[in-house]
């Protein structure tokens, strides 16, 4: 381990592996959360969920400087397509660095990638509103100033149609139940971010100092905690928190892009793909891309209805037989093979493999 190297450098290093290459353009798209099917697929294949949409304002030049540093230290090495692979040395460095430090691996899907930021903003705002309501104070300055988040929270509160004080009691008791399911440190980070009546929450830097963490590390861990919070709320019996999560999901098209969400609704209503394309005045290939996005974002989405049975079996068999099986080869075997079918089976195989591993 090199002492003057910051956490961010190790984190970026951890996104590379020994088998497949990753280039700077792909990585910046991943950090910016670019939602093309190929980028989402790359994230799924390399399990880069934690990095997806993490640094939306990171400049490519800054990332390139980091990569240059990694190359100079011989922690990554150039590979095909101007990409890089983790070197043997890099792999050892990573192992050592994360030996006594939690690696952020609690985000295991793309499901909440577009939701987390808004969820946390609104979570902080609602927590403050209820805290102030508990103390019967109406004259306070909201900690979240973004009018979009404020309007969303206002709409949710209006939809509940109950006195704020009663809601505040439910919110605090439900929140306590959920927080007990996190580790002490995770619950502490979350609660100390909150602002309430005569209490101002901590900044990331302040929390990082208290916990002896790097500020970027804290930022990444916080994102992981928010993911867990969403998961725990979703699986809980906490009515108010679930209603809050539901509203955010609804406003964010359940983690899909808007157009894909519209297609998903048609699919749910059992409309054929060709008819969806016609109704929406879109190409069939665009609808196929929507299906790929749904598959990549929603891990429980059933892909079978979109692939002929026979093709499904053939593709699985071919993948099993040849570890280097690719779309070109598949196309040689079957000229009528659609890319959608190939990719859907490929995603399923990747997921099955990671479960087996």
């Amino acid at each position: 381990m090199v002492s003057n190297v910051e956490y961010i450098t190790y984190f970026i290093l951890s996104l590379f592996n020994r088998d497949s290459s990753l280039n700077s353009a792909q990585l910046i798209h991943i950090f910016h959360g670019r939602r093309t099917p190929s980028m989402l697929f790359k994230v799924e294949k390399e399990k880069l969920y934690s990095a997806f949409g993490l640094f939306k304002t990171l400049k490519k030049s800054t990332l390139d400087q980091q990569l240059k540093k990694l190359v100079e230290m011989k922690w990554i090495e150039s590979s095909e397509n101007k990409g890089y692979k983790l070197s043997k040395k890099g792999s050892e460095v990573l192992k050592e660095y994360f030996l006594n430090r939690d690696y952020p691996d609690k985000i295991v899907s793309l499901e909440n990638a577009t939701i987390r930021k808004s969820f946390f903003y609104q979570f902080q705002l609602v927590s403050q509103i209820f805290s102030e309501a508990t103390y019967k104070n109406k004259q306070y300055s909201p900690t979240i100033k973004d009018p979009v988040q404020q309007v969303a929270v206002k709409e949710w509160l209006t939809s509940l149609d109950k006195p704020l004080l009663n809601l505040a009691k439910d919110w605090s008791s439900e929140l306590e139940i959920i927080l007990e399911k996190l580790t002490e440190e995770e619950a502490m980070m979350l609660v100390w971010k909150l602002t309430g009546h005569e209490l101002v929450g901590n900044t990331n830097r302040q929390l990082a100092e208290i916990l002896s963490l790097d500020t970027v590390e804290l930022y990444i861990l916080l994102d992981q905690i928010v993911e867990q919070l969403i998961y725990l709320i979703d699986k809980s019996e906490c009515t108010l928190l679930k209603s809050f999560l539901h509203q955010i999901n609804e406003n964010h098209y359940y983690g899909l892009s808007k157009s894909t969400y519209v297609t998903a609704v048609y699919i749910k209503n059992r409309i054929k793909l060709v008819d969806i394309a016609l109704k929406r005045n879109l190409k069939l290939s665009t609808i196929h891309e929507h299906i790929l996005e749904i598959t990549l974002v929603k891990q429980t989405f059933n892909i079978k209805p979109f692939i002929p049975d026979e093709i499904y079996q053939q593709l699985h068999y071919a993948f099993k037989k040849d570890p280097y099986f690719n779309f070109q080869k598949a196309k040689q075997e079957n000229k009528n093979l659609q890319f959608l079918w190939y990719r859907l089976v490929e995603i399923e195989r990747i997921r099955n493999e990671s479960i087996n591993n």
């Binding site: 508990t134 306070y140 300055s141 100033k145 009018p147 502490m188 309430g196 929450g201 901590n202």
Partner: protein, 488 residues
């Protein structure tokens, strides 16, 4: 309008019993339907000058404001004071929000609009349908090419005023020279007969001015001052990196409660820093010029500039955050030979040169609109506004010369041996009538010592109980009784 009604409104809506200098004159002029140009120093309550007559006149108060943060701050303050009929229309407003605003336009009392938004015809068309009580141009110096924050969009407000059927207009600024004030009046088509001017000195006696010439010991000087001066205070830097580094050093070496504040800090953390500073859990903020807008903290005792500011207007605005409670405070400018080149370099990086400007004009169709480089953004602005290339080029040249002159003035201020206050007021065409005691470092070379604090007062880092359960109890007043009554 009866004075008692005005005073009653002041107390009811703003919670004040008396007017600050200049407020009543401005309010009276507006209530008598005069276009009004108001220049009052920072922290003197300019908002009251339009908000109060706004309440007393029928119709909507339309406020053009140049900064999103400023707009949000004003909206929030009005809401906090109980005003529900207030909204902001800017690039952050969602489609839903805009629709809500337009549907509710007749009921709104205050509408804050960005200068870009007000250019759209469909917005003007909506606005002409409602009675306007007042058109407000906040930070009106942005109109002037001679002002520090020239905004080309502001130049079109005069046209907007005409399209809105010339409502009574009030233009507000804290720092404007004679030349800037003339340009504001011309641009807003304020004729001499129907216009009143409420001009107060930019001088703030309570803020004592000190310049410290350093010779390779600027860092040590800073630490010495920070250690000894009464707090809270602000230290301005021209780089984000230095703001971070010095905040860290002051925390670790002096054990002070210090945070850095600049555009790279996360939005919600910025708010937390502001709130912590206001409630005194932070003693010092190491900031770039991003800090200060909307910070209403009355007891700031010092403002130190680690780097020379680019112009006197900005300097006065930044030191104007000090001593708003009327008690004395000190503004210290630390200078080391060569500092001016940092500012010069920043200036060179701020405006597009002729080559870049021509390139953007010729290749506009190939350039994406959201360019990262601010120089390209400025060139694109001129191009999309259809300003001829030679005119744009000339305007940029004028700006460059102006910026250079302003910086030169700051350097002269630093080296000036006579009264600093008198010298800086000269820039705003003001003459200092009477000097107060301990006016500046030329009048009293040991000025800073008056502001040194009793050593026994210095605050030490507190040990905070980080138990999350206790914090949650505090947040929601959870006690044994409330736990017993829980449904789940």
């Amino acid at each position: 309008m009866n004075l008692s009604i005005i005073k009653q409104t002041l107390e009811e809506k703003f919670g004040f019993k008396a007017f600050k200098p200049g407020q009543l004159e401005a309010i009276d002029a507006v209530l008598h339907d005069f276009d009004t140009l108001v220049m009052l120093p920072t922290g003197s309550g300019k908002s009251v000058c339009y908000q109060l007559p706004g309440y007393l006149k029928e119709g909507l108060v339309l406020v053009i404001s140049p900064l999103l943060s400023l707009m949000q701050d004003q909206v929030e303050r009005l809401k906090k004071a109980g005003e529900r009929q207030v909204a902001a229309l800017n690039s952050l407003s969602s489609y839903k929000e805009k629709k809500r605003i337009f549907n509710n336009l007749n009921n709104l009392k205050f509408l804050y609009v960005s200068p870009e938004m007000i250019q759209y015809d469909f917005i003007i068309n909506k606005l002409v349908e409602v009675p306007l009580a007042l058109l407000v141009v906040d930070e009106a110096h942005c109109i002037s090419q001679w002002g520090m924050d020239f905004r080309p969009d502001y130049l079109k407000i005069g046209e907007v005023k005409e399209k809105l059927n010339n409502p009574v207009t009030i233009a507000l600024t804290a720092t404007a020279t004679n030349r800037v004030r003339e340009e504001i009046k011309n641009s807003l088509k304020m004729d001499a007969e129907h216009t009143k001017e409420v001009i107060y000195s930019v001088n703030r006696d309570a803020i004592k001015l000190k310049v410290e010439i350093c010779e390779g010991n600027k860092k040590e000087k800073l630490k010495e001052y920070v250690k000894k001066l009464q707090k809270p205070g602000i230290i301005y830097f021209s780089s984000k990196k230095m703001a971070d580094e010095y905040a860290q050093e002051l925390r670790s070496e002096l054990g002070l409660l210090v945070e850095s504040y600049h555009s790279d800090i996360l939005t919600d953390d910025k708010i937390k820093i502001q709130q912590q500073f206001i409630e005194n859990s932070i003693q010092i903020v190491c900031a770039t010029s991003a800090f200060g807008m909307g910070i209403d903290k009355s007891d700031i005792r010092f403002v130190i500039h680690y780097h020379v500011p680019s112009n006197p207007e900005m300097y006065l605005q930044e030191i104007g955050r000090c001593s708003r409670d009327g008690k004395d405070g000190i503004a210290i400018l630390l200078f080391e030979y060569g500092d001016q080149y940092i500012q010069k370099r920043l200036q060179e990086d701020a405006l597009p040169d002729k080559t870049l400007l021509s390139y953007v004009y010729k290749n506009s169709h190939n350039l994406k609109f959201n360019q990262e480089d601010p120089k390209v953004q400025i060139a694109q602005y001129y191009q999309t506004s259809k300003v001829p290339l030679n005119v744009a080029s000339r305007q940029i040249e004028i700006r460059e010369n102006l910026k250079s002159d302003q910086l030169e003035f700051m350097i002269q201020y630093i080296w000036h041996k006579g009264c600093k206050r008198s010298f800086i007021l000269g820039y705003f065409d003001e003459i200092l009538d009477t000097t107060t005691s301990n006016c500046c470092s030329s009048c009293n070379s040991k000025l800073e010592q008056i502001f040194f604090e009793d050593e026994s007062i210095s605050i030490v880092n507190k040990n905070v109980d980080m138990n999350w359960r206790n914090r949650l109890k505090e947040l929601y007043k959870i006690d044994d009784e409330s736990i017993k009554n829980r449904k789940i």
